[in-house]
Subunit: 386 residues, 4 copies
C-alpha cells in the first residue's frame, strides 16, 4: 500500500519559515504519522534568498509569487509564515483553492479579516489550523489535563504576561512589527494573542475587557532590508513613526466569572521570551513560564496542610503528552519541538478529516478579545467582547 | 543626662498589637535610638484579654476605652492597631490631643476620612506615620536605592500582585475584613493598599486607573468572638452577606507615563502572603517577593550581553539598610523585623521633629488611587485619580 | 502560686551572646513556658564592653571572670557562648556546680574534651543542651516528621554542604576561628559540625569516613582586638600562620547503609551562610537551604507519575512546629528564631527534668565523626568512627 | 566545486543511535559545514529492527555485523553508539581501517582498553572524538569562557553531582548497564564520567581521589530483549546479580590545589537527569543544572557589595556559543541540540584535519580518575591518579 503524502507549500522563509520547515522534516522521524509531509515548494520574494533557503531545508521547488503556490495542483497544504498583513488574502485564496491551511499567528489585521478567513475556510471545508504553538508544549498540556480532571477546581484567576525587551533601545529600527498597516497592532496582537489563546484553552471565553496601552518611543530609524524582529539593523538616518503600541495590559472577566489579567510588552528589560501564566482555582493552582518550558508549577490543596507547596513538575515523563516520542525522563526539549507537535496533530487532522484546535474559529474569537482591549484603551471604557 | 522617653499607648492587641509590641521592645535592643520607647498602656475592649496581653508583652497599664488612652498625659504616642473602622475617630482624637501617631494600614474607610485624618495631624503638628511596613524591608530599600541611583533608568512598567488564599473555603466566617462598614473594602484596601504604597514609593504617583473586581462567595457563616483573619472560627449556622470584593485587579497609568498593574485576591490558592512586584526600566529591572523577603532580583543591562541575568541578591550584607544591626551576612531576618525598622525610624522622626514616610499624606494619596479603582469597577470607565 | 524562675548566667557577649540574649527575652513572649528565664548575669573580659551589653539586653548583673558566674548561687543555668577553647573548662565547672548547661557549638576542641564534658554533665545529673540550632528550624522539623512517618522510605543518600566565603580575601585577619588552639579545627568543626548533627538527626549514625581538606591561604594579618568572624579588622602589618583547614569535604557511610557527603568551606565565593542538604530515599526526597529557611523541598514518589515534582513547602502553617506561636501563614521567620525555639525546649526540659536533644552525647558522637574526617585527611585512609 | 562529503557508518540504533542520527541530519541545516554528512549505513544485530530504524532516519544501507561496516570503503566515519563492552574492539578496528571515530561515552571498560583505543587512533592518525556532549551545551561553554577570561579567578572548589533514579524500584530489570562485564562499572562510569570530563574541562586535571560506593539492591529480574535504561521490562521470574555499584561518591584534589566532589547515583529519588555542578573561585562562582540547561548561574565578586548575587543567565543570546544558528533570544534549546553541536565541531575537525576535544586522550585521562575512585572504594585508601 502506498503511503499517503501531504504536499506542503510554504509561504515565508524567515524565522517562522525556518521553524515550520524543521517541523515538517522532524515530525515523521519521531512520530508515526498517517501521511508523509512532502516539502514541495517554498515561496519568497527574493529568488536568491528563497533558493538558498530551499537548498538548505530540502524544499523541492521555489516560487516568488504566493499566488502561484496556491494555484499549484501538486500542493495540498498552504503553510502561511508571512507578516500578518498578507494572511487574509493568502488564507482566503488558499481556502478557495481547496487547500488545507496551517497559519502562523497573529491571525489577521482585525476581526473583519479574521471573520472572512474563518468563513472562507469553513465554506471550503478544508482543515484550518492557527499556530498558537504553546498549546502543544507538554507542560501546558499537563495544565490542561489537570484542569479537565477537576484538580484545579473552579477557576478564580488567570494571571498572564508575555514580556520581551527587544525594542527598548530607541535606535532599534522600525521593523514591520512596529507598523500598524503591516502588523495590525503591537504586543497586543503579537504577544497577548498567545496569552489569550492559552487563557481561552485553559479557562474559557472572555466576556468583558478593560485595557490600557503605552507607547514609549514614538519614532524610529527605518530598517534595512534584512531587518527582523529581535535582530533589526538600520539603514541611513531617516526615521518613521511607530504606529503600534509598545505595551498593552488588560483586565478581563471570563464568562465563568473568573478574573483575569494580561500584560504584554516589548519594553520589559531582562525578559527575553517570558510567556508566563498563573491559574488559581478552588482546589489547586498552576504556574508556567516559557523560559523554563519543560516545567509546570502545580499546587494541590488535596495535599495535607503541612505538605502543601508548589511542585516543580519536570514534564519529561513518558506519560506526558508527546514526550514518549522524544527522550528519556529528564532530557528536556526546546522551543521548536512545539512546532513539530503542531505538525504531528495537523497531519493527523487532515488525514482523518477531523478539526484541530486552535483553528480559525479560535483565531476569530481571540481577535475579538484583542480588539476589545484596543477599543477600551481608546474609549476609556470597559468593553464587551462581541 | 536623662535619656529621653517616648511613652506609647497601643490601641488593639490582636495580630497587629502583637507585631507592634515586639517592635517597641526590640527596636532599642538592636538599634541606638534617640529616645527610649516605654510601653505605657495598651487598650482593648475585653479587660481580661487585654490584661493578659499586657502581662505577656510588658505593657505597664491597661485601658478598655480608647478615649481614656488618648486623654492620658503620660502618653506621647498613640499606636493605632485596630480594625479600620476605628482609625478615623481615633486618629483625629489623638491628633487633637497632640499625640504623635503610629497608625496601621489600611488607613481609613474612604478618602473623606483619610483627608480629615491627614488634616487633623497636620494641624496639630504631630508626627504621623502610616505603617506600610514593607517599605522597610531591606530588599525593598535596595530596590529604592537602585532606582534613585538611576540603575533602573526610565521606568516603563510596574507589575504588582498581593495574593492570599485564606477565604477560599466558603465556610470561612464573615470576619470584619469581609464587611464593608468595618473594612471599607476587601483586598483592594487590605492588600492593594500595600502594593500602591510600594508603587508610589518606587515608581511615582498614579494618574489614571481602570479596574475590575470579583466576588466568588456571597454569604458566609457568622464568626465567633475570637475569629480573626487567617484563623476564623464560626458560631452556629447563621450566615451573613459578604459586602466587600474577594479580588480586585487594576491597570494604571503613572504620571511619568509608566504602565502598571495591581492584582489582589484572597482566593489565590497556594499563595499565603505573596506580595510581589516587578519593575522594568530602560537600564534594568527588579523583582521582589515577600515570601522570600531577604532577596531582591536585579537585572542590569550594563552587564555585558553574554553575562546578563537576573541576580538573586541576598540583602543581608552590612551595607544593606538596617542589616548591620542584626546578624552577619546570610543570616536572614523575618516578617516582624520590618515593624521594628518602622519603630526605629518613627522614634527618630519624633525625636528630631522630622517627618517620616509613608505618612498620612501618603495614606490619603493611596486611598484616592484605591477609591478610583473601586469607582472604575462600578462605573465601567477608566477613572482619573483625584 | 509563684511562677518558677530559671536564672541564666551567660558567658560571652559577641555574636552568640546577642543571639542567646534575644532568645531568653523572646521565648516567654511568644510561648507559654513552665518557668520564666531571668537574665541574671552576663560575663565578659572587658568590664566596659560587658556592662554596655548588659545595659542593652537587660542583664541584671555583670562579671568579668567566668568562674565567678559558675560559683554564684543565684544562677541556675550556665549559657556558654564563648570561643570553643573555653568550652571544656567552663562546662565541667558548671556541671560540677550543678548548673544546667546551654552550650554553643562547636562542642569542644577534640573528642577527649567532649567525652569529659559529657561525663561531667551526666554525673552531675544536670540538663545539658548543645545548640545546633538548625534542628529547630520549622522546615527542618518538617523534614524530620516526613522521615519519621516513613514518607521518605529507606534512605539512600545524604548530600550536605555548608558553604561560606568570609575569608576569601587573603587580607582577612587571623581571627580565633583560624587558630587551631582556639578553634580545634576550621570549617570541619565550625560548619560540618552543624551538618553532621543534622545528618545524625535525620539519617542516623555514621560508621565510616573518608575526607580531604584544603588550605588556600597559609598566613594572614593579625587581627585587631574587636575582630570577629565575618567582620574582621587588622592591626599593623604582622602576620601569623593559619593553623586550621580552609575547607573540608567528607564522604561517609551511615550505619544503615546510606551514602553521605559533607562539604564545608569558607572559600565558596557567593555563598554567605549556605547550609544545605538533600536526602534521597526509596519513597521520597527532601531538600533544605538555610538561606531560604522557611522553605522545604519535598518530592513524593506517591504522587502520580505525571504530577510528581519537588514541592516548595512554605513551612509557615500553624501545624508546622513552633509556627502557631509566631505569625499567620506566609509570614516568615528569621535566623534568630531558631535560638528562641531552643530556649523554649530547653526551659521545658529543665522544668520537667527531661533530656533534650541534641545534648552532650550528641556532641561527643558528632565530634568523633569530625575527628575521623580529620584523621582520614591526614592518614589518606578511610577511617572508622570510634 | 563539488561539496565534500563525510560518509557515516553508525553502529547501534537505540537511545544513542537516535540521538546521533538526528545530529547528523540537523547539523547541516542549522550550521554551514565544510563537509556534508551522509547517512551511509547503520548497523544492528536484528535485521528487522535496524531496517526499520534506517527507513525512519534515512540511513541508506544497513548491516548486521559491525565488522562489515568497518571494512566498507564507502564509509569515512565510524560512529560508535553501542554498549560499552563493544567500544574497544570497534574503535581499534575502525582506527586500523583508517576511519575517523565519533565514540559514545563511557569510553571503555577500563583504562587498559582505553589506552589501547587511544593508541590505535593516534597511530592511525584519524580524528577521534569522545562524545561527552555536555561540553557543547551553550551554558557550559559560557562557564568555560568566564573561567578562561579569569572572571572566576583561582578556582577553589568543584562540587558536582549527576543524580538519577531509574532503578530505585527493585523490580527494575538487570539491563546491561547493571552488569560489570558489559558496562565496566555503574554510575561511576555512566554518570561520573560526564562530571569528571566537565571538571577536567573547566577546572583541570585531578591528582588524587578518595571514594565510597554503595549497592542497595543486589539482584534483579532478568530483562526482556528490548529492555533499556530508563524503560526496562522483565521476562519471567529469574533473577541475576547486580555486579556494579548503585552509587559512587568521590572527593578529589585537583593538580591546581582545588578541592572537588563528585556524586553519582541511580537511587536519587526525584532526580531524573540531574547533572549539576558548582565552581567557586577567588573572583566569582558558577552553577549549572542540566535540567535547566539553557541557564547558567554566575556570581561576580566584581559587582558592588550591595548588588552581588547569583545571576541566572539565559544562555540564548546570539553571542552565546552555537545560539546564533538556532532561534532568537529566550527561545530555548533541548537535550539533543548538544549532539548536533558535537557533529558540527566533529565535521569541522575532520575537514580541517584538526583535533577536537574531548578526544580519546581525554577519555583515557577520565578513565584513570574513575578507576582510581573504584580502587579507593575497594582499598579504603586515598588513591593517586596514575
Amino acid at each position: 500500500m502506498e503511503e499517503q503524502e501531504l504536499r506542503i507549500g510554504l509561504i515565508g522563509h524567515n524565522f517562522m519559515g525556518k521553524a515550520h520547515s524543521q517541523a515538517w522534516r522532524n515530525a515523521p522521524l519521531y512520530f508515526d504519522l498517517p501521511a508523509k509531509p512532502v516539502l514541495q515548494v517554498v515561496c519568497g520574494r527574493s529568488k536568491d534568498r528563497v533558493q538558498k533557503f530551499a537548498n538548505r531545508w530540502g524544499w523541492q521547488d521555489i516560487e516568488t509569487d504566493w499566488r502561484r503556490v496556491v494555484e499549484r495542483d501538486d500542493v495540498d497544504v498552504i503553510d502561511v509564515a508571512t507578516p500578518t498583513a498578507l494572511h487574509h488574502d493568502l488564507v482566503v485564496a488558499a481556502a478557495e483553492a481547496g487547500k488545507h491551511i496551517f497559519c502562523e499567528k497573529p491571525f489577521a489585521l482585525n476581526s473583519r479579516e479574521a471573520e472572512a478567513m474563518f468563513n472562507a475556510a469553513e465554506s471550503a471545508g478544508v482543515t484550518h489550523y492557527l499556530n498558537h504553538n504553546y498549546r502543544r508544549c507538554p507542560a501546558v498540556r499537563l495544565a490542561k489535563t489537570l484542569i479537565d480532571e477537576g484538580k484545579i477546581g473552579r477557576i478564580f484567576h488567570w494571571r498572564g504576561a508575555y514580556l520581551q525587551s527587544w525594542i527598548v533601545d530607541p535606535e532599534f529600527p522600525l521593523v514591520w512589527q512596529l507598523q500598524k498597516e503591516l502588523a495590525g497592532a503591537g504586543p497586543q496582537f503579537d504577544l497577548n494573542s498567545h496569552s489569550v489563546d492559552l487563557a481561552r484553552y485553559l479557562v474559557g471565553d472572555i466576556a468583558q475587557v478593560t485595557a490600557m496601552t503605552a507607547k514609549f518611543v514614538t519614532e524610529r530609524p527605518l530598517p534595512s532590508d534584512t531587518a527582523t524582529a529581535f535582530q533589526g539593523s538600520t539603514e541611513g538616518n531617516a526615521k518613521g513613526p511607530v504606529t503600534v503600541e509598545d505595551a498593552a495590559t488588560m483586565v478581563v472577566q471570563f464568562e465563568n466569572g473568573a478574573l483575569g489579567s494580561f500584560e504584554s510588552s516589548r519594553f520589559a528589560m531582562g525578559r527575553k521570551n517570558y510567556n508566563t501564566f498563573e491559574i488559581y482555582g478552588s482546589r489547586g493552582a498552576i504556574g508556567f513560564n516559557l523560559e523554563r518550558m519543560n516545567e509546570l508549577e502545580y499546587f494541590s490543596n488535596d495535599d495535607s496542610e503541612c505538605e502543601q507547596g508548589f511542585r516543580t513538575i519536570l514534564a519529561t515523563e513518558p506519560k506526558h503528552d508527546y514526550i514518549a516520542n522524544w527522550w528519556p525522563p529528564g532530557h528536556t526539549i526546546g522551543y521548536e519541538h512545539e512546532f513539530t507537535h503542531a505538525v504531528v496533530d495537523f497531519v493527523e487532522a487532515v488525514a482523518n478529516g477531523k478539526p484541530i484546535e486552535p483553528n480559525f474559529s479560535d483565531g476569530l474569537a481571540c481577535m475579538k478579545v484583542l480588539e476589545a482591549g484596543l477599543r477600551s484603551a481608546q474609549s476609556g471604557n470597559h468593553e464587551l467582547v462581541t
